[in-house]
């Protein structure tokens, strides 16, 4: 059971109040991109053991999208942060580093 805090409305709820929205910080490759880039954008998602950055939606609540950094092994939530960003903020990175020194996820560390 994951306990998430929505950064939009401040509610702390358990995961059935939310809905997972897949991998975070995707960069869109649309018209003009190569077939390989478009394929990877659609299908090549990471499924790490450990630190993972995801999008979530507070669907049984305020209805807003946000980001969450969590651990797929320990199920702990390192933190949640607004959807309006293309990378995890420093305080989230610090929270992850405190538990998992040397972590990396895609291009972030």
């Amino acid at each position: 059971m994951l306990i998430l805090t929505c950064p939009c409305c401040g509610v702390t709820g358990e995961e059935t109040e939310f809905h997972g929205g897949g991998e975070a910080h995707l960069k869109r490759f649309g018209p003009g991109s190569s077939e390989g880039e478009f394929h990877d954008y659609l299908f090549s998602k990471v499924n790490p053991k450990g630190v993972h950055l995801e999008r979530w939606r507070h669907n049984n609540g305020c209805g807003k999208w946000f980001h969450a950094a969590r651990d797929t092994v320990t199920m702990e939530i390192y933190g949640t942060y607004p959807a309006q960003t293309t990378e995890p903020p420093q305080d989230i990175r610090d929270a992850i580093t405190a538990k998992r020194p040397g972590w990396s996820w895609r291009e972030f560390a």
Binding site: C8, C9, V11, G13, E17, N59, N60, G61, K64
Partner: protein, 192 residues
């Protein structure tokens, strides 16, 4: 003129606490910049209550306003006054970006009343929310789910809860509440 009735037309059930359809309730969804002075003023005038804080509801004599999300309020007004209140909002907001819609007939309101702790226990069976008197106090407003459907909840007073859900699931929610309050099913966790 057709005879307007709420989803369950005032149905009620008496278990260890009482569940009832609250009848026709005027509800207006008001979306926009909740920090804008104009919107605050319109919400106060129409709902007849202060602007609610995040996660709260403020109630006046005939209505109120609930904080739904960072850009949405649910304004409660008497059912027969909705159209007049919508005109007031339109006039007050002018060309400023906003959305105000009559959702009265798209929603349903229930009341659960009785011993405060037993009311909380009944609702806690259905919602993943800490409903202890310490954690959830009158004035707080919580959107969550009730079993499989979205629902919003507040305590109108001690021993008096209000639930708003979609009209399309009114019977489902009523049946849930009826089951959760059936005599003999008290959990006695919050109630001693």
């Amino acid at each position: 003129m057709s005879n307007m009735v709420s989803a369950l037309n005032g149905a009620s059930a008496k278990g260890f606490v009482e569940v009832r359809d609250m009848g026709l309730q005027g509800m207006i969804t008001l979306r926009g910049d909740l920090n804008a002075a104009k919107l605050k003023k319109a919400a106060r005038a129409v709902g007849g209550a202060d602007m609610p804080e995040q996660g709260h509801i403020s109630l006046g004599d005939t209505g109120g306003a609930a904080w739904m999300s960072p850009d949405e309020l649910l304004v409660l007004v008497p059912y027969t006054e909705v159209d007049a209140r919508l005109s007031e909002i339109a006039k007050a907001m002018g060309d400023d970006h906003h959305l105000a819609v009559n959702v009265s007939d798209a929603r349903c309101m229930f009341g659960v009343s009785g011993d405060d702790a037993l009311v909380r226990e009944a609702l806690a069976k259905l919602m993943p929310v800490d409903l202890s008197a310490r954690a959830f106090q009158p004035g707080q407003f919580r959107r969550s789910r009730m079993a499989q459907v979205p629902a919003a909840l507040w305590m109108q007073a001690e021993g008096e809860a209000r639930i708003v859900c979609f009209r399309s699931v009114a019977q489902y929610v009523f049946d849930l509440l009826k089951g959760a309050t059936s005599p003999g099913s008290e959990v006695r966790y919050l109630a001693r």
